[in-house]
């Protein structure tokens, strides 16, 4: 339905030139790079580049948080600094505690970037999609699938056990990194070590509520991307996560609560 009240339509303030493709300039840190950098993903507030660290043969992931022109510059600098630091600290903490995450190579919180180990392999999402492309609902008879789901649940359990919640757990944020035994095997399918990535929304927390919400977000994301393994994942998660650390059974009970109410509470108008 269109309106007759055409003057009521406030034209888009600061309307951009239409159809200008959005191609951001690389961050200052990459301007001196003798070898090419590739923009891998562009999230709402950070861009991920694949580049090299120190020498051309060492690939690295560079996460860059560009300045936000709409934010007050002082606030913008403060937030960028805090977030780069928080992510770097969490990665370093996880790594030290033996949770597989990308290692931190270099941090420039003022420049808004963080250089990390490049994790080879494919995302769990891609592996699962390929595996689930044919056939219907899966159950415990699919050994390869059960195995990878166990590793996923154990990885999340490991993360929680060291006091970190991820904030955005999806199968896109988990990699299947080749192990020395399966190195270079193309189409290794669901083999590999689970490496959790993208800690941009992570926080240090040991609260049952935060952990349960973390699991709930993963469960929902899993259900929408891999519906054929949804029920199986729930069963495997409950079995495997429950044994991951001492407080895990309590978190699973909390998860039942969160499932009932949803992530959101009902609000007052």
């Amino acid at each position: 339905m269109t309106t007759l009240l055409s003057t009521d339509h406030r034209p888009p303030s600061s309307a951009p030139q239409p159809s200008t493709p959005f191609t951001p300039a690389p961050p200052p840190i990459l301007t001196h790079s003798p070898s090419a950098s590739t923009l891998i993903t562009q999230g709402a507030e950070a861009r991920l580049y694949k580049t090299t660290y120190l020498l051309p043969h060492l690939p690295c992931a560079l996460k860059y948080r560009p300045p936000k022109p709409w934010r007050h510059p002082i606030l913008d600098a403060r937030l960028t600094r805090q977030r780069i630091l928080a992510e770097a600290r969490i990665l370093a903490k996880c790594r030290r505690e033996g949770v597989r995450v990308p290692a931190v190579y270099a941090v420039d919180e003022g420049g808004g970037w963080l250089a990390m180990e490049w994790v080879p392999g494919a995302a769990v999402r891609a592996g699962l999609n390929a595996h689930l492309a044919t056939g219907g609902e899966r159950d415990e008879s699919d050994a390869a699938l059960v195995s990878v789901l166990r590793r996923v649940a154990a990885a999340v359990g490991g993360l929680h056990s060291v006091g970190v919640v991820h904030g955005d757990l999806t199968t896109s944020n988990m990699m299947l990194a080749p192990t020395p035994n399966h190195q270079g095997e193309e189409g290794a399918g669901l083999e590999g070590v689970i490496v959790i990535i993208d800690f941009g929304l992570a926080s240090q927390s040991a609260s049952d509520e935060d952990r349960a919400v973390d699991l709930y977000v993963l469960e929902r994301a899993f259900a929408s991307t891999h519906p054929r393994a949804e029920a199986l994942f729930t069963r495997v998660l409950e079995a495997e996560y429950g044994g991951a650390f001492r407080g895990a059974p309590v978190v699973l009970r909390k998860l039942e609560e969160v499932r009932l109410r949803g992530r959101k509470r009902s609000m007052l108008g």
């Binding site: 990459l30 001196h32 120190l54 600290r89 790594r95 033996g98 290692a103």
Partner: protein
Amino acid sequence: MAAEPPSTAPAACLETIQLEHVPPTYSVNVAVFRDVENAEFLQQQLLSRNTEFEYAFIDATSIISRLQLLSAVYKAITVHSGGNMKTPNIHSEIVWSLSPNNNISEAYRRYGITPTSQHIIVVKILLSPSSFSSPTPTNPQTPSPSTIQSHLLTHVRGRPCPFSDAVLSSFTDWPKVRKYYKLNGVGWLERMKDDEALRRRESEMLVLGSMALRGL
């Protein structure tokens, strides 16, 4: 300028490295000496601020790999180009960059040359690579890799060897490294005894993280 280690040419003891993501005006020159006999003299030159000895003299026993050393160099260059140095010069900044904490004098003691140092790594950062090939007639004193090499060979009484992981790992004093980078409490690392290469690599990752997050 070549990034490849010239380890095949034993005559040249100085490796010149152009690091990624660093302004091309900076070039990194690294030399390694074993069985050094005059460490006390070299440290004395630093303490007396002899400008002819503006180098980073690093005790090689605290170093585990090229990557670790170059990370410190990279950090120092970043700080230098940003104008945020907290120590007298870019070379002292390299020594401090090896430390996982903000204590500068402790960093000099732990990572810098001491009178008893046996094996050392020497780093010299040169600015403006245009002066490499031919010292300009107006300023013939401008240091170049070759003048640095001859200066080092003249004054460091030790055996030059390549700046390679193989050489560095033969110098590493692991108990010291584990203490400095607080790796002793890391249980999973200690349980990796059967796979020495993996353990070394995992340790290196933790060391890099500690250095990157120094004081943060």
